[in-house]
């Protein structure tokens, strides 16, 4: 290529890049605007409303009293603690339940794994409220299990539906499909030959899982857990219908503070605190995506 043609080609490329740039920005402008309008602005507004408030003399000023109240109120702290416990327990159970399912689906072939996958994905198509009532009808007082136990002379069971395990069971069930799908996608990137190579150098099945598979799907595990944790931490329907009246998870707590106690300031404060916890997990997800994109 001569200098002249090289220069022309280079100019053409530069021109094309310049021409394309506004189109690219326009394509992302609408979603960016919506995220700004519906997520970022309400977040900033909520934070501002809880820390920059009117005092008794009618002057605006920096005020953290609602946060001080939250972190000094035992009831609020109990609610936060039960939310964190439920979220952590659900994350742990999801990993323990979904990873074996995903491994089975990835490394098996035939009709049975197809049925297992169908069953694992099924809860995705069941609305949470139906799931909650089904749970109550099966495991609740005078539910199906209770009646069956009674029919064969077994003692009455203490149903988990009104204990903190109620929301855990419901939320785990509800989150199994998404977690399995994300883990399965991650396992799809683990080549069979990688596993065979590990076995060839002497690794048994457990060592293959620990040294080869798990490090290769760590990103997917992180993404799956981030999604689940974000959803569970701010869950409303299942914790509202299942579980004890007190302590309650942050979702029902916020709703009750806002509607029943009619205390918007404390409800917003609770929302900001919940958001603060969620954003930590969100950042894990963003970091994971960025690491993936970076190669």
């Amino acid at each position: 290529m001569t200098d002249l043609t090289q220069a022309a080609a280079s100019r053409l490329l530069t021109d094309t890049n310049h021409n394309r740039r506004p189109w690219g920005l326009l394509l992302v402008a609408v979603p960016v605007f919506l995220v700004g309008w519906l997520v970022i602005w309400p977040t900033i507004s909520a934070i501002a409303r809880t820390v920059w408030r009117l005092d008794a003399e009618g002057n605006y000023g920096f005020n953290l009293s609602s946060y001080v109240f939250f972190f000094s109120d035992q009831y609020s702290l109990n609610n936060l603690a039960i939310t964190l416990w439920t979220t952590g327990m659900c994350a742990l159970l999801l990993l323990v339940i979904c990873l074996p399912i995903a491994l089975y689906l990835r490394f098996s072939s035939g009709r049975l794994p197809a049925y297992v996958q169908g069953l694992a994905i099924f809860p995705l198509f069941v609305p949470s409220i139906i799931l909650a009532y089904a749970f109550i009808r099966v495991l609740g007082p005078n539910g199906m299990v209770d009646i069956l136990f009674n029919a064969v002379g077994l003692p009455k069971i203490r149903t988990p539906y009104l204990t903190p395990w109620g929301p855990v069971i419901g939320l785990v069930w509800d989150n199994i499909p998404l977690t399995v799908l994300i883990l399965l996608a991650g396992l799809g990137n683990v080549a069979n030959q990688s596993i065979e190579a590990a076995r060839d150098v002497g690794a048994n099945r457990l060592q293959v899982f620990w040294h080869i598979i798990l490090p290769r799907i760590s990103n997917s595990v992180l993404v799956a857990l981030s999604f689940s944790i974000l959803g569970i931490f701010s869950a409303f329907t299942l914790p509202y219908l299942l579980g004890p009246a007190s302590p309650e998870m942050m979702g029902p707590f916020m709703q009750r503070t806002f509607r029943e106690v009619n205390d918007p300031l404390n409800a917003i404060t609770q929302a900001v605190i919940a958001f603060g916890f969620c954003i930590v997990f969100g950042l894990f997800y963003v970091r994971s995506v960025a690491r993936n994109r970076g190669g």
């Binding site: 076995r199 060839d200 002497g202 040294h211």
Partner: protein, 363 residues
């Protein structure tokens, strides 16, 4: 150093027979190539030796010890995969050291052995590199080092150069052959590249539909292919089908005197054994195309019935399209009923075109 014995091994996938009653012995330090087209069962056989497939029937022994019941991790074999199969979350050192770590060797011993094997494959100083920072050839060397560091009794190579470019493939196969000979490691090598097999193997096993077509040293397989399939698969070969009548094989444009009984036969002539000379008259065939490869010219000659044969000749102005030529046939091989019945030079060349025949050029 080890001896591999495969006896009567078969593998059935549902209704498909991948390997059928396969028997082979590989001696200490020998490199045997399994060569065949896709679907011939060569990779399945290698995977059965490695423990990744369980044979439907038969026995596999290493140094007389049955290994068929052992899982891959317990077998004294090392496999190099076509896709390298390196673990991208580990650097080069960790990839190679992984098997040693599983064996709980002391840290110093692991370091010493990994560094030694890196030197052996020409990658000294690459230990801290991540695998994606290596070229395809370097990745394949790491895969080889990962197997060699464990000092396996049998090295299994499953088309290890298939994903590399031609130049790199040629260089790497020489390196692998050097290393294999230096270590004297018994090796089973799967390839569908005839050049690779001819260049590297002590013996070649040509496979077709899960069965052995021929086993022998490269020179024998090349010069005396046992079946028309082997003749067509190894190198370039002109396969001409015709009839022998009173010891004269005849097909359109070509006749050759060979001392075999009368009847149908397939004549196989390598392009280098099919000499050409400019015809004085109509000629036995007409040049269709001549491709200059620098060291030689490959000439497609069209026979009277439209079939083409290939001839390899030194570069000359005489080889131009449309020119009539005569054949000077050198070493020939003849087959009947899928078996070799004659190998040697023709007794007397016949220049007259003869009879109804089929002519096929392979290559």
């Amino acid at each position: 150093m080890a001896r591999l014995e495969i006896t009567g091994v078969s593998k059935q996938f549902d209704t498909t027979t991948a390997v059928a009653d396969f028997t082979l012995e590989v001696d200490n330090g020998e490199l045997v190539c399994l060569l065949g087209p896709s679907g011939s069962g060569k990779s399945t056989l290698l995977r059965m030796v490695g423990g990744f497939e369980r044979p439907t029937a038969g026995s596999i022994r290493i140094d007389g010890e049955e290994i068929i019941h052992l899982p891959p991790e317990k077998r004294p074999t090392g496999m190099v995969f076509q896709s390298h199969a390196l673990w991208t979350h580990m650097n080069v050192f960790k990839n190679i050291a992984f098997g040693l770590r599983l064996r709980h060797l002391p840290r110093d011993e692991i370091r010493r052995r990994v560094e030694a094997v890196l030197e052996l494959v020409g990658l000294t100083g690459y230990g801290s590199r991540l695998t994606h920072q290596l070229s395809g050839g370097q990745q394949q060397r790491v895969a080889l080092a990962r197997s060699l560091v464990l000092e396996p009794k049998i090295l299994l190579l499953d088309e290890p150069f298939a994903s590399l470019d031609q130049h790199l493939r040629e260089r790497l196969r020489e390196d692998v052959r050097d290393i294999q000979q230096r270590l004297g490691i018994t090796t089973l090598f799967v390839t569908h590249g005839q050049d690779e097999a001819l260049a590297m193997a002590d013996r070649i096993v040509v496979m077709r539909d899960g069965r052995i077509e021929q086993v022998g040293p490269p020179s024998e397989v090349y010069r005396a292919p046992a079946t028309p399939f082997v003749a067509g698969f190894i190198g370039q070969m002109n396969l001409l089908e015709g009839v022998v009548d009173t010891q004269v094989f005849a097909c359109p444009g070509l006749a050759a005197r060979i001392p075999i009984a009368d009847g149908p036969a397939t004549l196989a002539v390598r392009p280098e054994a099919l000499g050409l000379s400019p015809a004085r008259g109509q000629g036995m065939g007409v040049i269709h195309r001549a491709v200059d490869y620098g060291s030689h010219v490959m000439i497609d000659v069209e026979l009277p019935d439209g079939y083409r044969v290939k001839s390899m000749m030194p570069q000359s102005e005489a080889w131009t399209a449309g020119r009539p030529v005569d054949f000077n046939v050198g070493t020939i091989v003849a087959y009947r009923d899928n078996a070799l019945i004659y190998r040697g030079a023709q007794v007397e060349e016949q220049s007259r075109p003869a009879g109804r025949r089929v002519v096929r050029s392979n290559g």
